[in-house]
Subunit: 394 residues, 2 copies
């Protein structure tokens, strides 16, 4: 068999992540590898921590990137904070809510499910009812920004409810970090995990996490050992914890961390508030364009993510064919529906570097052309005009 | 606070890993990110699997890189193959042997320890005695190449012994893959995990694993659920398993996988046998040079890794100061001792791209100069001459 170096085709990533990675981040990743105990690298780790604290709006000491993708960050939160026999209120309004349940059950905990329709935000009233019904619950877990549906839940309210009932909060912020306000300290969220390949526009493979002092205390006072050696925060912090005496735990993914540093630096340069506003502004333009084509969003106005646009597939359209044509003819990737929304929605991302006017126009133009050729009633140029009007107004 | 892009200092990595990453691999990692379900990326995954099968000398279907460092690859083998209550014979002749124990115990298994002196290979006679004494053991776990000591154990013999007593074998090949013969199928090793940042000279952050049909059958017939969602091979294989219908499990570390592909391609171009011979040849040169300076290897001749040279610190030498000077004045990183060898040995790596005559000469010259200046009896130029003679002879 003959092999050769891989040269990826040129794409515009407008799915649920990964998003387009900035050339600055790609270049950073290509810099020479250092040892994981090199003084220069240890200094970089300190900067990454400070920049992550900025991104999370937190002063939490225990803030660092887990050396693996978001699902490992999720597992890190659960295996450290949940013990066998613990009862966890799990909010499920999409695919990732169900993954929370799987994590609880694999630890030997009991998951009390609070279900909401896919596409809707988590209903605080239902969570409160579950807390009243289960006064022995130890943790409330929910997804801030459901990547499978585009729903944005009210993290501050849910956290307050949990604390009123003496529960810790584990929050999935994989898709919210950098895209919408995420105020870990102001809201008091106890443990949060995120992703790098969404609104940070870094490559996938790392999961920033942050734990407040209540969470750290819970870890310290555990009755049972943490079931994962790799994700045991007591050990990980011996390396990430700072100070002169760092202890080797595992070999850090050096070059991936160069990339994360550069992407966090870009966020710091733009400023969080500006990044949030940019996502909101281009979302409105995309939405105006999509709605002018007769496409309808799922979920409820005011409870949707700006950067993950889940729209229902128009009647009679072969949705997979549309995605294939977008990819082949225009190099544009959008996301299919996941789980019970498979075949029912498209997920159009405007995340991080991918969130710009050029992508809004290119995507709307391509979709207009493809739907028109497939026989849909689409007036050429209308979506772009609507998007442009919206951008000019904002 | 003021932040700027990170520009690492120029280093020569001659520690226990990471080793110097080839510019080819660094460039591959900087290519534009694709989606994890992009047809072009799925094709790359197939190539990575085939190239990994070549590197492991195996035809195992279940061969893939875990999306996290070697310690997660280790955990993947244990959580899939060991169940609570299982008895595991754990060979410990260094730091990583003790990590095997920690993995068994965190699952709720019982680790039966077979200890050998640090620096020595695992003694098959002791393993056989343990197997006779514990006929109910389910697994034998050992480290092929102990990164903390440089000892190389006899994997074929240990695997045969385990199979004679109906045990599966879990083997740590983090530091052996690509550096010394590792014949997974010929030896019949059931589950193996490795690292990318040693003799493959890829960046750290991934852990290639391979499971044979006996191991897969054991996973299928488990009585208890796998405690990790992220590392559950049943789920991971839904994505990596090939075929047209790949199911999303987690977002793969796309760019890291570009790098792994390129490093495996380089190994395939060089051919395994040539890579092994290159490591052996430069090891002999380095050894001749070190011994001409009066430095002594730990462990037993014939049971040492060529690419991880553990030598005792000469009497009266401040070992940390030597390493600091190597780093500051020459940009050379070597490794300190770990665990009970801390302060007692240096670990000098000649792995992958770092394994070449230039590095042997530069390192010996630098060490000669530093030790001479610190008052050791070192004749200038003698080590280089010895190394050069050795290289010319081989």
């Amino acid at each position: 068999m003959h092999y050769q170096s891989f040269h990826p085709p040129v794409r515009t990533l407008m799915g649920p992540g990964p998003s387009d990675v900035s050339p600055r981040v790609l270049q950073a990743m290509a810099r020479p590898t250092l040892g994981h105990l090199d003084p220069a690298f240890l200094h970089l780790m300190d900067e990454i921590r400070t920049l992550l604290q900025y991104a999370f709006s937190t002063g939490n000491e225990l803030t660092m990137p887990v050396s693996a993708p978001g699902s490992a960050g999720m597992e890190a939160c659960f295996v450290n904070l949940v013990e066998p026999g613990d009862k966890v209120i799990v909010c499920r309004n999409g695919v990732f809510g169900d993954r929370l349940r799987a994590n609880v059950e694999r630890i030997g905990g009991t998951a009390v499910m609070v279900d909401d329709d896919w596409g809707e935000a988590v209903d605080p009233a239902k969570v409160e009812a579950a807390l009243r019904q289960h006064p022995d619950a130890a943790v409330v877990a929910f997804v801030h920004a459901e990547t499978s549906t585009g729903a944005l839940s009210d993290a501050a309210t849910l956290t307050n409810l949990a604390h009123d009932h003496d529960c810790l909060v584990i929050m999935d912020a994989v898709t919210s970090l950098g895209g919408v306000p995420l105020l870990v300290d102001a809201w008091g969220v106890d443990a949060v995990y995120a992703g790098t390949q969404k609104c940070l526009s870094c490559t996938p493979g790392l999961s920033p996490v942050t734990f407040n002092s209540r969470a750290v205390e819970r870890i310290r006072k555990r009755n049972s050992p943490i079931q994962s050696w790799f994700l045991d925060m007591n050990l990980v912090m011996g390396y990430w914890g700072g100070g002169a005496k760092r202890a080797y735990h595992h070999t850090a993914p050096i070059n991936a961390l160069y990339g994360l540093h550069e992407s966090l630096l870009m966020l710091h340069e733009e400023k969080l508030e500006n990044a949030w506003a940019r996502h909101e502004r281009h979302h409105r333009a995309l939405k105006a364009g999509l709605e002018s084509m007769g496409l309808a969003y799922i979920g409820t106005e005011g409870r949707r993510l700006p950067h993950l646009n889940a729209v229902a597939i128009p009647q009679g359209i072969d949705e997979a064919r549309v995605r294939r044509r977008l990819l082949r003819e225009y190099g544009i990737e959008i996301g299919a529906g996941l789980g019970e929304l498979a075949g029912k929605v498209w997920r159009i991302g405007l995340m991080g570097t991918s969130c710009n006017a050029r992508n809004v126009y290119v995507f709307l133009g391509a979709l207009e052309a493809i739907l028109g050729e497939m026989g849909a009633q689409v007036e050429a140029g209308r979506a772009l005009a609507a998007a442009r009007r919206q951008l000019e107004e904002s």
